[in-house]
Symmetry: C2
Subunit: 412 residues, 2 copies
Amino acid sequence: MQEESASASARPLDPGSPLTRDTECSGDGRGRAAVDFPVAVVLPAGGSGERMGLPTPKQFCKILNRPLISYTIQAFERLSWIGTIVVVVAKENHDLMLNIVRKFHHTKVKVVHGATSRHRSIFNGLQAFSNNTDDSLTPKPKVVIIHDAVRPFVEEDLLLKITLAAKEEGASGAIRPLVSTVIATTLEGYLNHSLERAKYRASEMPQGFLYDIIFQAYQRCSEYDFDFGTECLHLALQYCGTNAKLIEGPPTLWKVTYKRDLAAAEAIIKETLSASACVITEAAAEAVELAGTLQKNLATQGMVNGSNVSGVLEMVQHFENTSHARLHPVVVVWVKLNTTKRSFDTQKTDELTTFMRLASEVKQANVQLYGIQIDHTKVSELWERSAARLADVTVALIRDRNPALIGQLLQA
Amino acid sequence: MQEESASASARPLDPGSPLTRDTECSGDGRGRAAVDFPVAVVLPAGGSGERMGLPTPKQFCKILNRPLISYTIQAFERLSWIGTIVVVVAKENHDLMLNIVRKFHHTKVKVVHGATSRHRSIFNGLQAFSNNTDDSLTPKPKVVIIHDAVRPFVEEDLLLKITLAAKEEGASGAIRPLVSTVIATTLEGYLNHSLERAKYRASEMPQGFLYDIIFQAYQRCSEYDFDFGTECLHLALQYCGTNAKLIEGPPTLWKVTYKRDLAAAEAIIKETLSASACVITEAAAEAVELAGTLQKNLATQGMVNGSNVSGVLEMVQHFENTSHARLHPVVVVWVKLNTTKRSFDTQKTDELTTFMRLASEVKQANVQLYGIQIDHTKVSELWERSAARLADVTVALIRDRNPALIGQLLQA
C-alpha cells in the first residue's frame, strides 16, 4: 500500500526495546533544517457532518477510540517546525474540543470559535494571531497552513512543499487528478458539455499562504465570498493577485466525507499500527522454537520471551508508565504454551480467570490484551499446523484490534 | 447509514425460516412492471488497477472471498427486467472471468474481450449484440446500460430511472455533486481560475442509452475519441446530438479506486450482511432465558434454540443443500451453556475438538462457525454481565466475519 502509507509511524517497533518509541513522533525529517521562519496552522472544524448521515460531526467521530480530529492535529503537532495549531470549532463543541486536547495531550492547540460559514470561521482562526508582538495573543506567523480537520493523513513531505511554495509565491495548494469527468448541466438537468479532464484538477487541502496575503484577502473580500465561497486560493487570486503554486498530493489526502470513509480511514490506521504490537511467549524450552517460527511469520512485531501472566502484568505497567498507549491502543498478545496433556484443568481455569480480569483492567489504560494457547505435541505435523494457526490468529488479533475479543484465550 | 445501505439485502433473516431466503434476490420491485422492453448491460472490466498499487486489477480483488465484479454483476442479475450482461475483460483475464461466472453461478453473463482503451472495449461489448435476429448472437436490446465493474452498490431504483430516461431521451447518466472545487491550471502549474462548484457535477455511472444511439455514436467517432475520450455521454451529444438526461445518484455509486476503497466496500458489505446470521443455543432450560436476552440485543438475527454440536452440523448441511452460502459466507454462532461448575473437563475437551474439526470442514462450504461458551450462574449480577458480553462477542463475530477466528470457542 505504498501510495497510502499513513505516516512515518509505519516503522516497526524495535524488537529490542519495544517500549521506547512514540509511534507518532517519527516525522520531523528534513523540515527542521529547511524551515527557518514561523509556521502556524488553521484547522476549520466547524462542520456538522450532515453528509455522513451521522449524529456526530465527522471530525469528532472516533477511530480506535480517538476522534478523527486528534489524528489530524497530531499530523502537525509531531513536526517541530510547526508552531501553533488554531482549531476553529462551533461554540457548542468548545468543551468537547478542550477535552480532546487534554485527553490526547495536544500541546500546540488553541481553540477558537467558528462562525456561520467556512470562510468566516477561517478568518476567525486567522484573527487569533496578533500583529502586535507585545500582547498576549499568539504572534503572527510568516506562513499559515490551512487544512481540513477531516484529512488526517497529511505527511511532512507535502506540508514542507506547501510551506516553502507559500513562502516563495505567496500561496500554494494541494491538487489531485479528477476521478470523475466534470460536466456542466443545463437548468433543466440535461448535459450541456463535459470538461476536458486533463486541463482541470481537484483542489484539495492543505493550502499555504503568506499570513499577510490571506489576511488581507479576507479583509477585502465581499459578504458573498464570506457566505458562499469555497476556495481560499480563489480569494488570494481575486483580492491580492496571487496565483497559487499547485502541488500534486498523494491519494491519502482525501477528505473523510461519508460513513464509508471512516471505515477506509480505520483500515489505513490499523494497517499502519499493525506493525507495532507486542507478542509475549513463555520461557519454556519449547517456546523458544515457537517464538522463532512466529517471528518469521510476523516480521515486524515486537517479541518478548519468557513471561507468564505476571510477566504480562509487568509489561502492561511499563506501557502505562511510558504513555505508550496514549494515542493508540497497544496490542499485547500472550502466547501460552500448554505442555501437559490436558489443556484445561482446574489450575489453568484459575489462570484463565486471572488473565481475563487483568485484560479487563488494562483495557482502561488503552492496552488490548489477548491470549492464545497452543498445545505442545511431538507430532511434527500437528505442531506445524498449530504454529501456522498461531501466526494466523496473532496477525488477525493485531490487525483487527477488536475490543469485543479482549481477554479471550484463543486456541491455536 | 441510510445513504449507504447497499441493497435491499439488508433485511433480516426470517427467524422462523432462516434457510429459505437468498439474501441477494430481493430487488425486483416495481421494475418488472415499468420496463416492457429489452434492457442489457455492458460492463467494461479491462482496467489494470494501477491506481490501487495492487498486483490484482481492482475488479478482481476479493471481498469476503468473492471478487468485486461478482457483486456488481449480481446487482444487475437479481433484476428480472435486465437481460444479458456483457462483461468486457482483457484477454489474459478471460479464464479468470469464466471461473468467477461458474463459481458464483452467474447466469446472464457473456464474456467479451476488451481492447486498448475504455471506449474501444465498450464498443466491443456493444458489438456482442446482433442486429440480425436470425443468428446466434444475443439480439440487440432497446436500452443498454453501461456501468463500471468497480461500482458494486448500484440499486434498482437508480437503474430504473436511468433506463426509463434513456428510453425517453436517448441518453441518461448518473451525476453527483462535486466533493472538491475544480480548478484550471496554467501550463507552469499555477492556479488559473476555479470553477463555480454549483454549476458543475461529477459524471458517474451507470449511464443508459438507446442502443441505436450509442452504437451509432461509436461508429461515427474519431480515433482520438476512441483513444482519449472518457465520456460516453459526450459521444452521444457530439455524434448524435443527444443531450443526456442527468439523474442524481446516491453516494454509494462511488468508484472503488484506491486500496482504501476496498476497505470501505468491505465495511458496507459486512454491515449489510450483519443482519443475516444464525445463532444456535442449547435446549437446556437456562438457555431459553439466554436466547431471550440475546434476541433483544441482536434484533435482526436468526435464532435457533435447542441444539448441541450435532444440531450445528445439521444446520450447516441445510445451508449447503440450499446454496445459501454461495454468494456470501454464512455465519453460524453456537452458544454453549455450561451448567456444571467446572467449565473445562475431559468430556468438554472432546466436544471442543469435535467443534473445531466441524468448523474447519464447513469452512470449505463458505460457512463460518464460531462458538461462545457461557457459564451458568445463579448470581444474577454475574449472569447479566456474562449475557451482555455474550451479546457483544456475538455481534463482533457476526460483523467481522474473521476467517482466522473460525472454530474458536470464546468465553462470554
